[in-house]
C-alpha cells in the first residue's frame, strides 16, 4: 500500500505550520498551533488506516473491500479529547488576559531572579576593579529593591474586563 501524496502533503503542511505557531509566546497562537497539529495527526491516522474502502459492515461489503474502521474510531476519540483540551487552553488564555492584559506565557519568576543575581554579580566585579563609581552602585542597589516582592502576585487581581478593555489591569504584570 502506498499512501496518497496529497494526504501526506496535508499532514506536512498542517504539522509544520502548527509547530511554527507553537513556538510563539502568545497562548492564543499556541491554541491555533495545537489545533493545526492535532488535525494533521488525525489525517496521519487516516493514512495509517490504509486505502479507502466500503463501510466495514458484515454482509454489506466484502471483507477485502472494507475500510479499516479502527483508525476512524481512534481519530474520533482524539478529536473529542482535543476539543476538551483546546477549550481549556482557551479559558486559560482568557484568564491570563484578564489578569495581565495579555496572554503571553511568562518566564519563571525564580529563574529570572537567579539570572538577575548572576548579572548583578558580574556587574559588581566590573565596578570593583576600576575605581568604583558610587552612583553606578547606587543605581544597581535601587534596581534590586525595585524587584517586586515574591508574594505580591499571590492575590488575585480585581478584574472588570469590560470596563478596562485591553489595558494592563492591576496585579502582577511581570
Amino acid at each position: 500500500m502506498s499512501p496518497s501524496l496529497a494526504l501526506v502533503l496535508v499532514v506536512g503542511v498542517l504539522v509544520g505550520t502548527g509547530v511554527y505557531l507553537l513556538l510563539e509566546r502568545s497562548l492564543s497562537r499556541v491554541v491555533l498551533g495545537v489545533t493545526l497539529i492535532s488535525n494533521g495527526v488525525n489525517v496521519l491516522f487516516l493514512i495509517a488506516g490504509g486505502a479507502a474502502g466500503g463501510p466495514p459492515l458484515v454482509g454489506t461489503t466484502a471483507p477485502e473491500d472494507m475500510a479499516d474502521p479502527l483508525p476512524q474510531a481512534m481519530v474520533l476519540t482524539a478529536i473529542v479529547i482535543n476539543l476538551g483540551l483546546t477549550a481549556f487552553v482557551l479559558a486559560m488564555a482568557y484568564r491570563s488576559w484578564q489578569l495581565h492584559g495579555h496572554d503571553e506565557v511568562q518566564d519563571d519568576l525564580e529563574d529570572r531572579r537567579i539570572a538577575r543575581r548572576a548579572a548583578l554579580r558580574q556587574a559588581d566585579s566590573r565596578t570593583d576593579d576600576v575605581g568604583s563609581d558610587l552612583q553606578a552602585e547606587a543605581a544597581e542597589a535601587r534596581d534590586e529593591t525595585e524587584e517586586t516582592p515574591l508574594g505580591a502576585e499571590e492575590q488575585p487581581a480585581a478584574h472588570t474586563p469590560d470596563s478596562t478593555a485591553g489595558g494592563p489591569i492591576t496585579g502582577g504584570d511581570r
Binding site: 492535532s38 488506516g49 486559560m92 484568564r95 506565557v105 502582577g172
Partner: protein
C-alpha cells in the same frame, strides 16, 4: 477474577459524577471520594494477590476478544503500581480534606476539587491497566486534563503562569505520543501491546528504531527525563500542597511506567540503552545540582524529584532483571517519600508562613513532630542505611556493578554522588528551616493534627517499606522476571489459537 480489572477505572469515574452532583455539600463529596478510593485500594490489593498467584489477568471490555476489542491487563507490575498509587491518593485526599476543614471553610477544597481528583485517579489507574497503546493515550489524557484543572485551581496569576507552561508541554508530549501511535499502527496494523510484541519484531529495524525514539520522547517528557525536564520545577511549586504532592508522587511515575512497558515489552532488543543510560546519568546530576542551588523548599523538592527520576531510568536502561527489579522497588519507595515530603512542605508553609529557606527557621522548637517527620523522610530520600531509599539505591548500584560496562560504572558513581548531594540539599533545608534561629519571629499558626496525620502516615509507609524490603524485593524480582521473559504477559493476552486471528466472541455482530 477478571471482573476486578475495570473497577479501579470505573469506580472513581462514577464517584466523580456523584461528587459533582452533590457539589454543594462538601461533606458528602468527601465521603464519596474517600470511599471510592478505598474501594480502589481494596481492588488493587486483591489484584496483587490474584496476579501473584495466578499470573496476569486479562479482560476484554464489552466481551470482545482482546486483539480486536479493548483490553485491560494487570500483571505484577501494574498491580503493584495500582496499590501504591491508591494508597498515596487516599492519604493525600485525607490531607486535603483536613486542610479544607482546618481553614474553617467547609467548601474549601473548591467544589470542583473532588470530582477532578477522582478523574485523576481514574486516569492513573487506566494508564496502569490498559493493554493497548491507544488506551494508554486515553488514560494519559484523562489524567492530564484533570491535572490541568488541579494545577490552575483558583486561577491566580502565579498558577496561570506556571500552568500555561505545563499545559503546553503536556500537549506537546501527547501529540508526540499520538503521532507515534499512528506510525506504529501504520507499520504493524495493531496497537495491542502483546500483539505488538510479536509484530514489531517483523518490522524493519530502522523503522523500529524510529518508532522507539518517538515513543520514548513522548514518555520521557512526561517522566521529566533530562533534557526534557525543564518544565517540572517551573510548574509544580505553585499548586496547592496536596496537588503538588500527588503530582510529584504519581504523574511522573506514570511516564516511567510507560517507559518500562515500552522498553521491556515492545522493544526488548533495546538499542537505545546507551542513550537512556546517558540520559539517566544527566538527569541525576543536573537535577540534584539544581536542587542544591534552590532557596525554596518546594522548588528544592521539585529538583530532587527530577534528579531521582534518573535512578529509575538508570535501572531500566541496564535492561537486566536486577536493574528492572531495583527500578520498580525504587519507584514504590520514591512515590511514597516524595509525596510525604511535599505534604510536609505544605505544613511548613502553613506553620512558618512561607517556604523560603531564607525566612524560615527554628521550626524544630515550635513544631518538633513536623521536624522529626521531615528529617525522617529527608534521610529516606537521601538513602541513609536502614531505610527504604537505601535498599532501592543498593539494588540499583548492584545492578550497575553486575552490568559492569564502563558507562554503567559511571552511572554507579553518578548515583552515589547524587545521593550525597541529595543529603547535602535536604540537610541544608532542614538546618535552615528547622534548626537555625528564625530571622524574624514566625507567625502564630498551628499545624492541624488532621493534616499532620496523613503526612506522617505516608512518610512512615515510606520508611516501613524497608521492613517488608525482603518480600517486596522478591515480588519485584518476580515482576522483573515476567517483564524480561515477556511470555507470561503475551500468552495471557493472546490466548493460543486465537492469536492474531482477530475473531470476536460475539459472532452475531453488535455495536462494539
Amino acid at each position: 477474577m477478571t471482573w476486578l480489572l475495570p473497577l479501579p477505572v470505573v469506580v472513581p469515574l462514577v464517584a466523580a459524577g456523584l461528587a459533582l452532583a452533590v457539589s454543594r455539600r462538601s461533606r458528602a463529596q468527601g465521603i464519596i471520594s474517600i470511599s471510592a478510593l478505598a474501594i480502589v485500594l481494596g481492588v488493587a490489593v486483591a489484584l496483587i494477590f490474584v496476579t501473584h498467584t495466578a499470573g496476569p489477568q486479562v479482560m476484554g471490555v464489552g466481551d470482545w476478544q482482546v486483539p480486536v476489542g479493548i483490553g485491560l491487563v494487570a500483571d505484577r507490575l501494574s498491580a503493584l503500581m495500582l496499590v501504591v498509587s491508591a494508597l498515596v491518593l487516599l492519604g493525600v485526599l485525607a490531607y486535603s480534606l483536613a486542610q479544607g476543614l482546618a481553614d474553617g471553610n467547609e467548601s474549601a477544597p473548591v467544589a470542583i476539587y473532588h470530582p477532578t481528583y477522582l478523574v485523576l485517579a481514574a486516569g492513573v489507574s487506566m494508564a496502569f491497566l490498559s493493554g493497548d497503546l491507544f488506551n494508554l493515550y486515553v488514560g494519559f489524557e484523562i489524567l492530564l486534563a484533570a491535572s490541568f484543572v488541579l494545577l490552575t485551581l483558583g486561577g491566580t496569576g502565579e498558577r496561570i503562569r506556571a500552568g500555561s507552561i505545563y499545559v503546553v508541554v503536556s500537549l506537546l508530549s501527547s501529540i508526540l505520543f499520538l503521532i507515534s501511535i499512528a506510525l506504529i499502527y501504520a507499520a504493524t496494523g495493531t496497537l495491542n501491546m502483546a500483539h505488538l510484541a510479536e509484530r514489531l519484531a517483523e518490522v524493519d529495524s530502522g523503522v523500529r528504531l524510529l518508532l522507539q525514539i518517538m515513543l520514548l520522547l513522548g514518555f520521557a517528557i512526561k517522566a521529566a527525563v533530562f533534557p526534557l525536564s525543564a518544565w517540572l520545577p517551573d510548574s509544580y511549586p505553585t499548586a496547592p500542597a496536596p496537588v503538588t504532592a500527588v503530582f510529584a508522587g504519581l504523574l511522573t511515575k506514570v511516564g516511567v511506567y510507560a517507559i518500562i512497558r515500552a522498553q521491556t515489552l515492545l522493544f526488548p532488543d533495546s538499542r537505545l540503552d546507551t542513550v537512556l543510560l546517558v540520559a539517566a546519568i544527566a538527569t541525576m546530576l543536573v537535577g540534584i545540582i539544581g536542587a542544591v542551588a534552590q532557596e525554596d523548599i518546594k522548588r528544592l523538592l521539585s529538583f530532587t524529584l527530577v534528579s531521582h527520576i534518573g535512578y529509575m531510568i538508570f535501572g531500566i536502561a541496564l535492561s537486566s532483571e536486577t536493574g528492572l527489579s531495583a527500578a520498580i522497588f525504587y519507584i514504590v519507595h520514591h512515590i511514597t517519600v516524595q509525596t510525604a515530603l511535599f505534604l510536609i512542605a505544605g505544613l511548613v508553609e502553613r506553620r512558618g508562613g512561607t517556604t523560603s529557606l531564607e525566612q524560615l527557621g527554628s521550626l524544630a522548637k515550635v513544631a518538633p513532630a513536623l521536624g522529626a517527620v521531615f528529617f525522617l523522610s529527608a534521610m529516606n530520600l537521601a538513602g541513609i542505611p536502614p531505610m527504604s531509599g537505601f535498599l532501592g539505591k543498593v539494588g540499583l548500584l548492584q545492578a550497575g556493578f553486575q552490568d559492569g560496562s564502563a558507562l554503567a560504572l559511571v552511572g554507579v558513581g553518578a548515583g552515589l554522588l547524587t545521593s550525597l548531594l541529595t543529603l547535602y540539599a535536604v540537610v541544608k533545608a532542614w538546618n535552615k528551616a528547622f534548626w537555625q534561629e528564625a530571622p524574624e519571629p514566625l507567625p502564630d499558626a498551628r499545624v492541624p493534627r488532621t493534616m499532620f496525620g496523613p503526612a506522617a502516615v505516608i512518610a512512615s509507609v515510606g520508611v516501613l517499606i524497608a521492613v517488608i524490603g525482603g518480600p517486596l524485593y522478591d515480588y519485584t524480582d518476580a515482576a522483573a522476571r515476567d517483564l524480561t521473559a515477556r511470555t507470561p504477559y503475551v500468552d495471557a493476552v493472546l490466548v493460543h489459537g486465537d492469536r492474531g486471528s482477530g475473531q470476536s466472541s460475539d459472532s452475531s455482530g453488535g455495536d462494539g
